[in-house]
């Protein structure tokens, strides 16, 4: 979305393609036209994401008017329609309210209504339910997936909640320290987690079907400080499966099965993983290395870390 202020936030390299167009190459006014209209975004904290001194009406109408030649009363009618669509009762009255007169869940509904106002092709939801109660989470997620399906909007859901991933998504990229470390259809990812980080995430989450007394296996350590980019695999310091090469180079994202054709998207997306020493299926379900005599490779001295 190119929303981060420069120079602190900048894109170091690569491409960001949207409908065949590299977003990095667009100038600011072209990018502005895409924002909200083609690509919309919902943020983590609904309590701070709406402007406190403007009414909901002002904030919704201005969104519509920013991209459409439309009269004020038509835009207002559209805003009422959107609010009732996201399940806000008495939308005509609520339009005149200020954000502080809404609860967190209701504000996130307003955010969703606003994001879908122009029927964007892509909706980026950045931890949309992190700040909400569990019961409200379920409502908001259900609403989000239903509306996205109705409008034909693709959703990128950013979350650390694997339950949400399992319930909401079709394809998953697991990211660690800015790298995609595993990519697969969601069903395949949960059936056959292949990266130590994915395995770690699954084992650090309480499950209803766990054996009584079965301990959670936390991931030791803390994520790296990205201002000092590590050499090698960024997960190596916390990884139980690390081998000596993990300290030296970032492994490429490669298909699990050797194949000639890699599908990046869709239901047949190829299961890919970036790891020098992948856990086996048994190890993945145990949550730790099972090989006899295996110990994690120690950090080499003078490796430049």
């Amino acid at each position: 979305m190119r929303l981060l202020p420069e120079p602190a936030g900048r894109i170091e390299g690569g491409r960001v393609e949207f409908e065949g167009q590299d977003l990095i190459e667009l100038d600011e006014s072209e990018m502005r036209e895409l924002r909200g209209k083609e690509i919309a975004m919902i943020f983590q904290d609904p309590m701070t994401s709406l402007n406190p001194v403007l009414t909901i009406e002002e904030q919704m109408v201005e969104t519509i008017k920013a991209h459409k030649k439309i009269t004020g009363s038509d835009a207002r009618a559209r805003a009422i329609e959107l609010l009732s669509m996201v399940g806000i009762p008495q939308p005509e009255q609520r339009l005149r309210n200020f954000p502080h007169q809404f609860s967190g869940g209701m504000r996130q509904r307003v955010m969703i209504a606003m994001a879908l106002a122009l029927e964007p092709k892509l909706l980026i939801a950045d931890e949309p339910t992190t700040a909400l109660d569990v019961t409200i989470q379920a409502q908001v997620l259900e609403l989000l997936s239903r509306l996205a399906a109705d409008h034909g909007t693709a959703v990128i859901l950013i979350t650390h909640d694997l339950g949400v991933v399992a319930g909401m998504t079709r394809r998953t990229n697991v990211m660690y320290a800015g790298f995609v470390v595993e990519s697969a259809t969601t069903a395949e990812l949960f059936a056959q987690p292949s990266h130590p980080y994915t395995v770690g995430l699954l084992h650090s989450m309480p499950r209803l079907d766990a054996q009584p007394g079965e301990p959670l296996i936390p991931i030791e350590g803390t994520p790296p400080d990205l201002r000092f980019a590590p050499v090698g695999c960024p997960f190596a310091p916390r990884c139980a499966w690390r081998v000596e090469s993990c300290w030296r180079g970032m492994p490429p994202l490669e298909p699990l099965q050797p194949t000639t054709e890699v599908h990046m998207t869709g239901s047949g997306a190829t299961h890919r993983c970036a790891c020098w020493n992948r856990p086996t299926a048994e190890e993945a379900s145990a949550g730790r290395p099972l090989r006899a005599g295996f110990t994690a490779a120690p950090e080499p001295i003078g490796a430049g870390r």
Partner: protein, 334 residues
């Protein structure tokens, strides 16, 4: 909202009462006898005693205070012991001049300070920001009498661009109707007088406005930078609004809040604190009146004026609080 206003007005009463006591005591403790100020250094003891009796200065302090308070509650601020004119009358003549000067200074400070603050906030720590910081530090640091005389010397004495001193050229003999120099000039129907009155206002408004300008600039800059980092500004940009709309509506509507408070405080202190500027530029407003009254030991004028300034200050603050409630819906509805 009405309850809020009533509560605030009632809250001001004890403050004013306490202030009147402190003022009364304080001015009596100052060295110098008003009788000597009136009669001169070679007055006879009999004459001095006579003056003391006329002014009530021979009575005990608490009696003097109660007399004063009684008069005050009837709306009588007393009369000057120098020229015997009622304080309220002279105030009505002089206050408009101070108000005009204050408005001029505010237009200069706010009109320049807010754009400067926004400009500096646009690229924090860039060279524009640095320049604005230096200018505003300069504005705060330089004493008004230095800035005032320097401006007068350069623009009036050397370059002859602007008139000095006073609020209007006395040779135009404009009739004082409202006592606002510019309004009186307009009422006189003489276009030359209007231009002259405006020209007279420029230099003192700059001198008086230099400190508020610096403060408004700094607060605007800080406030805009602060608001720019808010989540809802990111939301506004994510919605595809133009930069201008994000700046004007989403950032400024919120950034105004602290700026308004500061402007209000400045109005309060400008109305009472134009002492130096009025003296430097020869404006016969209330500021220069305070100075001459102190020199003359005219304690009645001084204590009344300070009380009036305090009332004005409290009133302005109240108005700011109410204005704040209008700008900020979270206060309005609580």
């Amino acid at each position: 909202m009405l309850r809020f206003i009533v509560r605030r007005v009632l809250g001001a009463i004890p403050i004013l009462f306490g202030l009147s006591v402190i003022l009364f005591m304080f001015l009596r403790l100052l060295p110098g006898d008003p009788a000597i100020a009136i009669l001169g250094q070679h007055a006879t003891p009999q004459l001095i005693a006579q003056i003391h009796e006329t002014l009530g200065l021979d009575k005990p302090l608490y009696v003097q205070y109660l007399n004063y308070l009684g008069q005050l509650l009837q709306g009588n601020f007393g009369a000057s012991i120098i020229d015997s004119r009622a304080v309220a009358d002279t105030f009505a003549i002089r206050f408009p001049i101070t108000v005009e000067l204050t408005i001029g200074a505010l237009i200069f400070a706010v009109g320049l300070g807010i754009p400067l603050g926004r400009l500096a906030a646009r690229h924090p720590n860039g060279w524009i920001d640095g320049l604005v910081t230096v200018v505003s530090l300069f504005g705060i640091s330089i004493p008004i009498f230095v800035l005032g005389y320097t401006l007068a010397f350069i623009f009036a004495v050397e370059l002859h661009l602007l008139p000095y001193p006073g609020p209007i050229d006395p040779r135009l003999s404009v009739d004082p109707v409202t006592h606002f120099p510019i309004i009186d000039a307009v009422l006189s129907g003489n276009p030359g007088a209007v231009v002259d009155a405006f020209a007279h206002l420029i230099l003192p408004a700059i001198a008086l406005g230099s400190i508020p300008l610096a403060i408004v600039t700094r607060i605007t800059r800080a406030s805009v930078i602060d608001v720019s980092n808010e989540d809802y500004v990111r939301t506004a940009r994510a919605k595809g609004l133009t930069r201008k709309r994000v700046d004007d509506r989403h950032i400024m509507r919120n950034a105004w809040l602290p700026v308004t408070t500061v402007i209000g405080l400045q109005v309060g202190s400008l109305l009472g604190g134009a002492v130096l500027t009025e003296t430097v530029f020869g404006w016969p407003g209330v500021g220069s009146w305070v100075v001459t009254s102190i020199q003359n030991h005219d304690y009645i004028v001084v204590q009344s004026l300070i009380l009036i300034f305090a009332t004005i200050f409290l009133t302005v603050n109240l108005i700011v609080d109410i204005g704040y409630a209008f700008l900020n819906p979270r206060i309005r509805y609580s």
